[in-house]
Symmetry: C2
Subunit: 288 residues, 2 copies
């Protein structure tokens, strides 16, 4: 696979957009790893079977490489396939090839991964580099005795009651473009500057739900931010503390990285079609 957008170019290759949801419990995260069950691997394998392509030729790129145990309802991925493949898919069926492919993939995949949609990607589309933002939710049930066993796979049970107002005061002080080094497991050389666009806690039925949106997130960033905010919410830290940690610009061991299972990638935002290619170019330049 090439990393470049391929729709309508590249010698008969076309780019597909695939929308995916998964329960992260049974996966060692998105990214392929030897001897581990990963979302990327099961999806690539299913695509190879569904499209009758040799393995491991199908390589899939996603918008948000979720960690082990993290869920997704709105993951977006792309892959490039020979255009002859799509003609083959539609043949002999009254349904459009997109529906045939979705049905075929969901028949192959385990029920902890669902393909929600397949489409021809617009020109310039890159699931990762065209994205404007990623939105995650972190779900907490504060009052562990009230925890709903049916949702325990994607909700963190928290023994102490949380003060959402205090957490929102703390959260608002983090919004904006900053170097989030203090909240990242940094890889040498990679930029940790990100634009945090939204940090918001609200009550949804018996849960406290955090919505965080940024242009992109570094490794562990959402879970470290959530941990810092929970310390504020239970009164162990002042609402000014998370911003002080940010300003110190180094990993603070007092910031807990909360468990993966409360976290879900909910949505990825893209610009209008005409701006997809330009956005991808800009992002590449900036991250590189």
């Amino acid at each position: 696979m090439t990393d470049e957008p391929a729709t309508g170019t590249g010698g008969g290759l076309v780019r597909l957009r695939v929308d995916v949801a998964y329960d992260g419990t049974g996966f060692a995260g998105w990214a392929r790893q030897p001897d581990q069950r990963t979302v990327q691997e099961v999806l690539e394998d299913a695509l190879a079977v569904a499209l009758r392509l040799p393995r491991p030729v199908v390589a899939v790129t996603c918008a948000g490489r979720t960690d082990a145990g993290v869920h997704a309802r709105g993951q977006v991925a792309h892959l490039d396939v020979p255009d002859a493949v799509l003609a083959r898919l539609g043949a002999g069926s009254s349904s459009p090839w997109t529906e045939v492919l979705v049905r075929r993939l969901n028949g192959i995949l385990g029920d902890d991964v669902r393909v929600r949609g397949c489409a021809l990607a617009p020109a310039g589309f890159d699931a990762r580099f065209s994205a404007l933002w990623r939105r995650y939710a972190y779900r907490v049930c504060d009052g562990a005795d009230r925890a709903d066993p049916l949702r325990r796979g994607h909700v963190l049970a928290w023994a102490r009651p949380l003060d959402l107002e205090a957490m929102n005061v703390a959260g608002s002080s983090l919004v904006g473009e900053h170097d989030f080094l203090a909240y990242c497991r940094s890889r040498t050389g990679a930029s940790t500057v990100r634009e945090l666009q939204q940090v918001w806690w609200e009550r949804v039925a018996d849960l406290a739900v955090l919505t965080v949106r940024a242009d992109a997130f570094c490794h562990h960033m959402v879970r470290a931010l959530t941990g810092a905010l929970l310390s504020v919410g239970e009164g162990r830290r002042a609402p000014s503390w998370p911003a002080a940690v940010l300003a110190a610009a180094r990993r603070d061991p007092a910031v807990r990285v909360v468990p993966a299972h409360g976290l879900t990638l909910e949505e990825v935002g893209y610009p209008v079609d005409a701006e997809l290619g330009a956005r991808a170019l800009r992002t590449r330049r900036r991250r590189g």
Copy 2:
């Protein structure tokens, strides 16, 4: 254990009410069975440990004996314990004994069962026989590709779209007191006359959710009713069919018993305290 209400009587025995929620996935149902993991067994074992009572002395009675795989958010149970036990629970703690017991039980139980509350039962209370009604929900995602992997444990994925209006027409024709033999796995001699109080489908976000309420349900009754309504909802049967099956008063093999995992016992209703004993007596007489 005696089957009679024991609060304030019976030589120092007191009756406790315990409210329980569980994910039925890992259980062979509520009722104890040899060599099977059941809710009754893990709860009785946890109570024996938490109350420092010899096993298997603690016998728990519940409002709705759920089948294998069926969930509960609002299960209610009772048990009788020597009153000295409660005094022991409260000693040495600043919390009320009810909180101590809830915390202790949830510390012992696996996270697929949660005790939501414990209380001294009012006089005449019997979790099973005092109940006025049981309310269940059956959750379906019609449009399997939209199915949310995070909720697949308690939502049935259904490939075809459902007509809720048609199902509600069909459902309303079943409301009232009838012999539900056609929808029950009957045990010889037991009455299958029940009062169905509510049958209602509604859209809740991307789900079709059935609420059914009755004074009580026979074995398999909710799942057979749901199966008949789904046949109407997908257009394979007329809205008049479920009532015709009811009137025939014999098991109809065309009625599918839908899978257990979509079903959740949501709530059990009881009369005001002063009427608990009378209600229990009346129910016993009628069922016997």
